[in-house]
Amino acid sequence: MIRLENVTKSYSAEVVALHDASFEVAKGEFVFLVGPSGSGKSTMLRLLNREERPERGAVWVAGRNIVDMPPGRVPHLRRNIGNVFQDYKLLTEKTVFENVAFAQEVIGRPRHVIRQQVPAVLDLVGLAGKEDRFPNQLSGGEQQRVSVARAFVNRPLILLADEPTGNLDPATGEGIMRLLDRINTTGTTVVMATHDQRIVNTMRKRVIQLDRGVIVRDQARGVYE
């Protein structure tokens, strides 16, 4: 599903965010990216949805090397990838329903599909009955659930999550993790960058550890350390 081959990404001569990184993720896997601040986790995720391009190496996603993908194809790549962020990135002037529907609207899903799938996914993330609220009328955990619903509503092959629990208290964070785990069991590949030691240690999934842009550990059923 995902394969990186000797990927090097630098933002400038001094800042080398990733150095010669290679790994492979199979369909349906759940992978934690861990490492100290500035080690290149977010950069890795941004390479996977072509927000950034590496100087060297190949990035294979769903059977395609996306490094040299023509810009016109990138939107279609992104329809196969859901994104969840630490700061949710919800649109404050839209309701919960509209925020999720937006992800379908802008890729041209017909209205009857939207009317059917948005409530279903909101139900899945546990937000049934809160469709008409605005983001500022929700708790942090609920906002993150909206964001997960938006990332998942188009049934992506891959879900990328960048510190999705970073702003949440442990109990709320666990709820989000259960949700991501459930999404993972539907066959969606999940790659999640995190600092949350407890979560990594309880979930016991594959762990890829970065240090100053270099992969220093790749461990199945790993722990945070």
């Binding site: 279609h76 790549l77 990135k89 937006f102 890729i107 017909p110 209205r111």
Partner: protein, 302 residues
């Protein structure tokens, strides 16, 4: 399809409201520019009407009495041919149909006179192009000779009487109005550009999310292009209204000028006016759409 359309229209309308001051400024500037553009075209057309019979270096016109027979005209043609090579470089005959067409342009603002001219009473014309280096005095002498010596000649007119002043006036007016509308169009484009940038900045979070969930650039761009298009069309329509009004007042005013003042030609036909108005709207629409499209593409990347 339907959901796309409603999405696009909703976003365009919302953006309009959000940006009302800048939008109004852009529309007014576009309208004034397009108005001056339209006026330039009308003025040029008016001058062209006045000068059309002098096109192609014609400097002398021999008017022939209406209903002169071909045989009678051959005397005139022989006289012209006799000078060919020395004073006259070439000459051509403007027959009844041609002369009627000429009158249509010349008396555009004077329908009463136009009405009196018919196939049977309109004088036809010989249009004469002199050789290079022929001076005015020679031409004047030729005019005298033709006027007095040739049968069936109604009158002979020389270009020097009106041509020089008018074409100089035309060049002067054309230069300044063109300069004016181009700079205003430039200002209008900048304003439209700025409206789009402001609109996109206001929606940058939305655009970020759209790109992340896989909206195509075109999908993101179209509402902004539509916004520019609508601005251009409203500007164009406003300019059309003003142009129509001004042209109307001018045409009415010209009708009251003394006959033979020459101003009757400085009026354009309704058909031409319609073309100009259509052109103005199309031009406004094009500038608005392309300007905003380019702006949207530029700010999509950042």
């Amino acid at each position: 399809m339907w959901s796309r359309l409603t999405y696009t229209l909703r976003e365009t309308w919302a953006s309009f409201q959000r940006n009302i001051t800048l939008t109004v400024a852009a529309i007014i500037t576009a309208a004034v520019s397009l108005l001056i553009f339209g006026l330039t075209l009308l003025i040029q057309e008016g001058f062209d009407n006045l000068l059309s019979r002098w096109e192609g270096g014609v400097e002398m016109i021999v008017f022939v009495q209406a209903q002169a027979t071909e045989e009678q005209r051959s005397v005139i043609e022989e006289a012209l041919a006799a000078q060919e090579g020395s004073i006259i470089a070439s000459w051509s005959y403007c027959d009844v149909a041609c002369s009627l067409e000429d009158a249509q342009r010349l008396f555009a603002g004077d329908p009463a006179t136009l009405e009196l001219l018919t196939e049977t009473n309109i004088p036809t014309q010989y249009r004469v192009v002199p050789t290079e280096g022929t001076d005015v005095l020679t031409l004047r002498a030729l005019r005298e000779a033709y006027q007095d010596g040739l049968p069936n000649v109604l009158s002979v007119t020389l270009a020097e009487d009106q041509l020089d002043l008018i074409s100089r006036l035309q060049g002067f007016v054309g230069l300044y109005t063109t300069g004016l509308w181009i700079s205003l169009m430039f200002a209008a484009t900048l304003l439209i550009w700025n409206t789009i940038r402001t609109a996109m900045f206001a929606r940058r979070r939305e655009i970020e999310v759209m790109k992340l969930v896989g909206a195509t650039d075109w999908f993101i761009r179209v509402p902004f292009m539509l916004e520019g298009l609508v601005q251009g069309i409203i500007g164009g329509a406003t300019a059309c209204g003003a142009l129509w009004f001004i042209n109307n007042r001018w045409t009415a005013g010209v009708a009251e000028f003394p006959e033979n003042s020459g101003f009757a030609a400085l009026v354009v036909s309704d058909g031409y006016l319609n073309w100009v108005m259509l052109g103005i709207i199309a031009f406004g629409a094009l500038v608005g759409m392309i300007g905003s499209g380019i702006a949207a593409s530029r700010f999509l990347d950042v």
